[in-house]
């Protein structure tokens, strides 16, 4: 059993690693366009809007990240068993995960785009060459950080799950968080900057994504540039909070006290959500008048 101060330090380090991992995970899904917002990228060509946005939805983000992280952690575990240094083992493991991500990205992009030939959507080879290294780089950072904090949990804090299983489960969580938080910035805002700000996407506008960039034609790089300003960091915050709060309560408290501390965190978040809701309703106001009729002046 480690002393509480060291334990808290490790939990803080895990939270920091998770924050970087969450941000990198979300930004990778923005460069490559994965998960739910990609439905619009896929739809755009079919609605006669050919584009230069990288189109890869290998699978939902959680199983995808479960796979990359489990691969990284498995390679790292094998290398650790051969007495390799921890950092090198995790780095090489993460590289294996990133290579797998790169392979899937190329096949997913080419397969999806080629299947849209009838809609006159071209396969741009320069996009494949330009985007895949960036996807792999973001993926590498995410996998490295997730495997690293899983390693701390497994080796130092003494979690009973084997490293690959732990990284697999955290990978699924990271994907679920990235898909639920940061992707909304990409899907609801960045893809539809041609629509008025301050409303959800009108279903009639589905597929009409922004195809022109600040300079030239928009691609995944332009999207990640914008999403790195809000969606990425808040996704990092979400994964960081999850990892930090969940481990903090079990490090500082034990038994039923840890459960009560967790419930208090949950209660605070419910109240905080209510405050944000009230603030948003006051700031933006209704879209229709009180009778539910015409738009207010």
């Amino acid at each position: 059993m480690i002393d509480p101060i060291t334990g808290l330090g490790l939990v803080a380090l895990m939270g920091a690693l998770a924050t970087i991992a969450g941000a990198a995970e979300d930004l990778e899904s923005d460069v490559g366009s994965q998960s739910n917002p990609n439905s619009q990228v896929q739809l755009a060509a079919q609605m006669d809007f050919p584009h230069r946005i990288f189109n890869k939805a290998i699978s939902g983000e959680p199983p995808a990240y479960g796979l990359w992280c489990a691969t990284g952690a498995t390679v790292a575990s094998v290398l650790l068993a051969q007495n390799m240094s921890v950092i090198f083992a995790i780095a090489i493991g993460s590289l294996a995960g990133a290579i797998l991500l790169g392979l899937f990205s190329v096949t997913a992009h080419m397969g999806r785009t080629a299947s849209q030939k009838r809609f006159k959507q071209p396969v741009y080879m320069d996009m494949v060459i330009g985007h895949v290294p960036s996807i792999m780089a973001h993926g590498f950072i995410a996998v490295f950080c997730i495997v690293s904090f899983s390693y701390i949990m497994f080796e130092i804090l003494g979690h009973p799950f084997p490293l690959p299983l732990l990284a697999f489960l955290w990978g699924i969580t990271a994907g679920a968080i990235g898909s639920s938080t940061g992707d909304v910035h990409y899907g609801a805002e960045r893809e539809f900057q041609n629509q008025p700000f301050g409303s959800g996407l009108n279903a009639a506008q589905s597929g009409n994504i922004v195809r022109k960039a600040e300079s030239g034609l928009r691609n995944g790089m332009d999207n990640v540039w914008a999403c790195a300003k809000f969606g990425g960091p808040v996704t990092g915050l979400a994964l960081g909070w999850t990892v930090f709060f969940d481990n903090w309560r079990s490090t500082v408290f034990s038994g039923m006290n840890a459960v009560i501390a967790g419930l208090i965190i949950v209660l605070i978040l419910i109240l905080a959500n209510r405050l944000v809701e009230v603030k948003a309703r006051k700031a933006y106001g209704p879209y229709k008048d009180e009778e539910g009729g015409a738009e207010p002046a």
Binding site: P37, F168, T173, G198, S199, G231, S250, A258, G262
Partner: protein
């Protein structure tokens, strides 16, 4: 050949709780990612699995601590592990919903609103006039947030129950092979029930106030059958046949 019926029953109950929990979680699927539907902008299975498996990590930690301590593993310990799993899942889901809400409010610029009810059953706030044109609501209103938290509770308890029961059958809390097997089986049972519930939901649900929630009994029957089959396969593999 005897298979312990209590283990089978508890694993099945865990599966049913997971299926039930998924119905509480407000997910808007792909439309919610474009602020076209109320709820979190991801798939039902994805979010439920993310929350439930975070709970499983917490439960695994707690189980290891209690089962390897002198004095053995009693009923109060069992409850503590379930509570730990539930709180782990609830923390994940509330953090995700809260941060998702920040994106909807401060990035997309929409107020959280439900399109399924005229007034929020918890706060009493008017909903219909806050729905933007051409959408089915957006964000996570208080009723959906509370519903999601309850979903995390059920999912976390269900996943932990399956894991603890499998570990009890394995009867070797410190053996990494048994831990890995129980962990993977618990994950598998989680996915089976989350996917079944997802079919029942059909893409999007706002929470317990959504009319789709009335379909829960069907999901409970399907999850009961599926989890029973999973339990019958899992128990002998974990060494639960005498």
């Amino acid at each position: 050949m005897i298979i312990d019926p209590i283990s089978i029953a508890l694993i099945t109950l865990g599966g049913v709780l997971i299926g039930l929990g998924v119905h509480f979680i407000p997910v808007g699927g792909a439309p919610a990612a474009m602020a076209q539907a109320t709820g979190v902008g991801t798939g039902t299975v994805q979010l439920a699995a993310g929350a439930g498996l975070t709970g499983l990590i917490s439960a695994g930690f707690m189980y290891n601590f209690l089962a390897t301590a002198p004095g053995g593993f009693g009923t109060s310990d069992f409850i503590l592990v379930l509570a730990s799993g539930a709180v782990g899942a609830m923390i994940m889901i509330t953090v995700t919903m809260f941060i998702g809400q920040l994106v909807y409010v401060y990035c997309v610029g929409v107020p959280p609103v439900s399109a399924k009810v005229d007034k929020d059953p918890i706060t009493g706030d008017r909903q219909d006039i806050y729905v933007s044109q051409g959408t089915e609501g957006h964000g996570v209103p208080t009723v959906s947030f509370v519903s999601g938290t309850i979903g995390g509770l059920f999912g976390g308890v269900g996943g932990s129950m399956v894991y603890v029961q499998l570990m009890q059958i394995g009867n070797a809390p410190a053996d990494p092979a048994i831990v890995a097997l129980a962990g993977i089986f618990a994950t598998g049972v989680f996915y089976v029930n989350a996917v079944l519930a997802s079919y029942n939901i059909g893409g999007t649900i706002e929470g317990f106030h959504d009319p789709k929630f009335k379909r829960v009994p069907k999901a409970i029957i399907s999850c009961l059958i599926a989890s029973l089959l999973c339990a019958i396969i899992a128990v002998p593999i974990m060494g639960g046949v005498s």
